[in-house]
């Protein structure tokens, strides 16, 4: 047993890093869909925009990373606000119209980013102080990913507390559960919706800035992270921060430990896990009761 643990410890640690990265993406998608009933297929584009921001601004110094984070924050706010404004007129016209619109925006944005940054994958270096590997119980592991786990873990805890324990969070959860009732109490739900959209977008771009050294920016990365976060949302359940967190951590392990244990089945593990959840518990493992 200790031999098995020793062989797969690094995979498990890496699964946590991967899972937390997915959480920063999936939570926005989940809340926007859960609350506004808006399917935002441009969500992966926000990650990519953040990752390109990190590539363009990070120069190996802490200041570069800080600058990239600030710019990423602004990009996220603007992007989220624009997307929210774009889909607002489509309220109540069904998912297909929203999907078509956001997918169109995603395709245009992807082309624009290729025009600016070229068609290469652009590996992004972390701050030089973190650009080395350390020994984790005798196994070499990149220091940046350890720090990422700490930072992203902190973000996850803060998001969780904000949504589950604060009054603003209660308002958001109430809007997820019954939008009309919240409106009836005199709250302008559109502001809540806009706020959540922008918040989710900021998390995705900040995830992109911090995640660029792990999933480097390049053409097609937007689709890949979008698919991963959609799977996380399906597994975790809609509109729930807890669901997104646990779903993301689960998919993180599937993508690292699962692949290490069954490398031959690597292409099928992700969707295999999704299929299993759909068959056994179609509303998601941790869905907020709305059915």
């Amino acid at each position: 047993m200790t031999g098995w643990l020793d062989a797969h410890l690094v995979s498990m640690v890496d699964g946590v890093a991967y899972g937390l990265l997915l959480f920063t993406l999936a939570v926005g998608l989940s809340l926007v869909f859960g609350m506004m009933d808006v399917l935002n297929l441009a969500h992966g584009t926000l990650y990519l925009a953040g990752a390109y921001t990190a590539y363009a601004l990070s120069d190996g110094s802490w200041l570069g990373l800080l600058l990239a984070l600030v710019v990423g924050l602004v990009v996220g706010l603007l992007g989220g606000g624009l997307l929210a404004a774009a889909v607002a007129p489509l309220q109540g016209r069904g998912h297909l119209d929203q999907a078509a619109l956001t997918l169109g925006i995603a395709l245009i944005a992807a082309e624009v980013m290729v025009m600016i940054f070229g068609a290469q994958v652009l590996p992004t270096a972390p701050p030089s102080a973190l650009a080395r590997s350390v020994s984790v119980l005798g196994h070499s592991y990149p220091l940046y990913r350890l720090v990422f786990i700490a930072v992203a873990g902190l973000i996850a805890v803060l998001v969780y507390l904000a949504f589950e324990r604060s009054s603003v969070g209660a308002l958001v959860r109430a809007t997820v559960a019954d939008r009309d009732m919240v409106r009836a109490t005199g709250v302008d739900t559109r502001k809540v919706l806009f706020g959540v959209f922008a918040f989710g977008a900021v998390l995705a771009t900040v995830g992109g800035v911090l995640g660029a050294p792990i999933i480097a920016p390049g053409p097609g990365v937007d689709d890949r992270v979008l698919v991963l976060s959609l799977v996380v949302v399906v597994i975790g359940g809609l509109g729930s921060v807890r669901g997104a967190l646990l779903g993301a951590l689960l998919i993180g392990q599937v993508q690292t430990l699962g692949v290490a244990l069954m490398p031959a089945f690597a292409p099928f593990l992700l969707f295999g896990a999704m299929l299993l959840v759909l068959v056994l518990r179609p509303q998601g493992l941790f869905a907020l009761g709305r059915a």
């Binding site: 869909f33 590996p123 689709d223 490398p263």
Partner: protein, 396 residues
């Protein structure tokens, strides 16, 4: 029921997005189409101007142009007009561009083609329209009986085959195979095994990583490390090559497990992106910019003056395609006659090239020397340096 329905919808969206991401289209690039019967010989240059292979396309375009510039824009004494078409990144976009060149622009010969999928897709087009295609990169192992298709590069499995025997003889212990899960990756591993097994090499395991979805190689590298293998043989190119080499370093395999690979792993721009992590990597390739011959010196100098970069094997193969056309058009009397040019290409017995002199094999690919290269720091920058010869391939 709403959540159940929306869950299915999301699952559908997840699968749909996967499919959609696969069908990015390529656009047809410039080119004029005056249908003048007399005038310069029209040569179609079919290389990617967009998509993930764009940098290879840029290298090939530059290599071809360097040859033309060295020869006053003439091939075989005739004026030529190069018509550029965008191969894009899928078989469909490449096929559409090839059809435009052949049918609309009515070119006499075509050169280029990066992707093996495109090459497989255009075989019938060139064989039935009897237009010679002097390919300068893609060369699937299955393409063995074409009459009008030539390649100045190599057969896909040759970089692996060149390396197999050397690794079997020089590595004291088992070798772990890791390759991207698509045709080129499998061809490379098959080629490697062709010469590795007979020379007494010992295989630990053979694992293929999903392509292009794998950006995190950690679980695969962890397995390779704990397997106790002495060396790793890999096949990756482009963005995946950068990620793979960096993670090979980050997860502590560097210095513990020797890394051998087909030359694409460290060819061209990817080496800069890999940085120090790539140092000490061994690769097999049919060309390196530091080969010591007069033709190569002139080529490297002119190429650097034009692009500011050292030429890659892709640029060199395209340069040679121009050379082959130069010789063939001259032998065909300088006329825009596809049949005569194709016959003349087949009659070429020796091509003087920056890689050294090569001849045609009986399937229309070069019989050529292969080199072992190591990534070393030269004057403060990382470069591929030739450290050994791996022997000649292609003659059987």
């Amino acid at each position: 029921m709403t959540t159940r329905r929306t869950s299915y919808l999301l699952a559908l969206a997840a699968s749909g997005a996967l499919v959609l991401s696969g069908c990015g289209g390529g656009t047809l690039g410039g080119g004029s189409d005056d249908a003048a019967a007399e005038g310069p010989i029209k040569i179609g240059l079919l290389v990617p101007q967009s998509g993930v292979y764009k940098s290879l396309g840029d290298d090939m375009k530059a290599g071809f142009e360097v040859y033309l510039e060295q020869h006053d824009d003439k091939l075989g004494g005739a004026e030529v007009e190069v018509i550029l078409a965008d191969e894009g990144e899928t078989a469909d976009s490449g096929k559409a561009a090839a059809e435009k060149l052949v049918k609309q622009d009515q070119v006499t010969v075509v050169t280029g083609v990066v992707s093996s999928a495109v090459m497989n897709g255009v075989v019938d087009l060139f064989e039935t329209s009897k237009i010679p295609l002097v390919g300068s990169n893609a060369s699937p192992t299955t393409l063995t009986d074409a009459t009008y298709i030539w390649r100045t590069s190599y057969v896909n499995d040759e970089p692996g085959e060149a390396l197999g025997k050397y690794v079997a003889e020089n590595v004291d212990g088992g070798v772990y195979f890791l390759a991207a899960d698509y045709q080129a990756g499998k061809d490379e591993v098959e080629g490697f095994k062709k010469s590795f097994g007979p020379a007494g090499g010992e295989t630990v395991d053979e694992v293929y990583t999903p392509f292009p979805d794998t950006s995190n190689f950690q679980p695969f590298l962890a397995n390779a490390k704990s397997s106790g293998a002495e060396a790793l043989f890999s096949f990756y190119a482009g963005g995946a090559a950068v990620e793979f080499v960096k993670q090979y370093d980050q997860f502590g395999l560097k210095g513990d497990v020797d890394h051998y690979s087909a030359g694409f792993l460290t060819e061209g721009g990817v080496l800069d992106a890999q940085g120090e992590a790539a140092e000490g990597t061994f690769t097999a390739m049919n060309y390196n910019y530091d080969l010591d011959n007069e033709l190569n010196k002139a080529f490297v100098e002119d190429y650097e003056a034009k692009t500011g970069m050292k030429p890659t094997t892709y640029a060199m193969a395209s340069y040679d395609a121009a050379k082959v056309l130069d010789m063939a058009i001259e032998a065909a009397g300088g006329k825009a006659d596809p049949e005569a040019i194709n016959t003349a290409i087949g009659e070429i017995t020796e091509v003087e090239s920056p890689r050294g002199t090569w001849t045609w094999s009986n399937i229309g690919t070069p019989v050529q020397m292969w080199y072992l290269r190591e990534v070393q720091e030269v004057d403060g920058t990382l470069r591929n340096v030739v450290v050994d010869e791996l022997g000649e391939l292609g003659s059987d």
